[in-house]
Subunit: 150 residues, 2 copies
């Protein structure tokens, strides 16, 4: 399992790096070991507060299957989901969630709050997949932002 | 203020009644006393777990203004927002939120959890606007659902 998880998280990392002016977060949605949808955060690009990477892949997959239920899907995302995305993931009934970096400020799968406690959730959640790589993308972005501010 | 709030919540109630097979929730987004966007919950209709009434009006307004920041807007919604919608509302920086029914199961503006406590939020939130009317729409819907189940 570790190799497969690393492989798909690597894809999420690659997508995260494509988030031009947006905070670099990448997500990949997988079904039967096949990538169904992938996206980076596009809040600034699309000027939509809702367009985090996770929301985009959920919407793409539901459109593809014409079904809001994504029970058989596994989500890989480079950063622990915020409350908006975490609740969307739980609502879409995604069964397995793997994230990279922990978000101590807004992480809603355990780090700041745990939205799973609100429902009788059968969701499997594991953080820290390729954690260092995922942390590095964010660190590099914020370093660059601070440099531009000076 | 009460009259204005009742007026706009009445519009949200009217929209809620248009949610065919979906749980009837309506939302109206207002700027300078003018309705910018209105929508009902369309999760089943669009087969998208993300398409709650609040998300739809936020996305419509951001598209209209080409801006994810909706600071000067006021949201009227017939049911207390869930964690997904509450976080989207806070992310979009909507300043004033009025809701009708309290949601003791999933309400994320105080009834079950309060997501405002996660950020230094200047958002004004008030529940219980036209509460009885808003409760009635939901009660009628669930009564009808139970009747169809028998």
């Amino acid at each position: 399992m570790t190799e497969i998880n690393d492989y798909f998280m690597e894809q999420a990392v690659n997508i995260a790096k494509m988030s031009n002016n947006d905070i670099p977060v990448g997500a990949v949605l997988v079904k039967n070991n096949e990538i169904i949808a992938k996206a980076c955060n596009q809040k600034e690009k699309l000027q939509q507060a809702t367009k985090h990477a996770e929301i985009i892949v959920i919407e793409e997959a539901s459109k593809k299957f014409n079904n809001w239920r994504l029970e058989d899907c596994t989500l890989y995302v480079t950063l622990e989901p915020c409350p908006m995305c975490a609740w969307a993931i739980l609502q879409a009934r995604i069964k397995n969630i793997f994230f990279g970096s922990y978000d101590m400020l807004y992480g809603a799968f355990g780090s700041k709050i745990n939205l799973c406690t609100l429902i009788n959730s059968k969701t499997n959640i594991k953080g820290g997949i390729l954690e260092e790589k995922c942390n590095n993308i964010l660190d590099d972005y914020f370093k660059k932002m601070r440099k531009n501010d000076n």
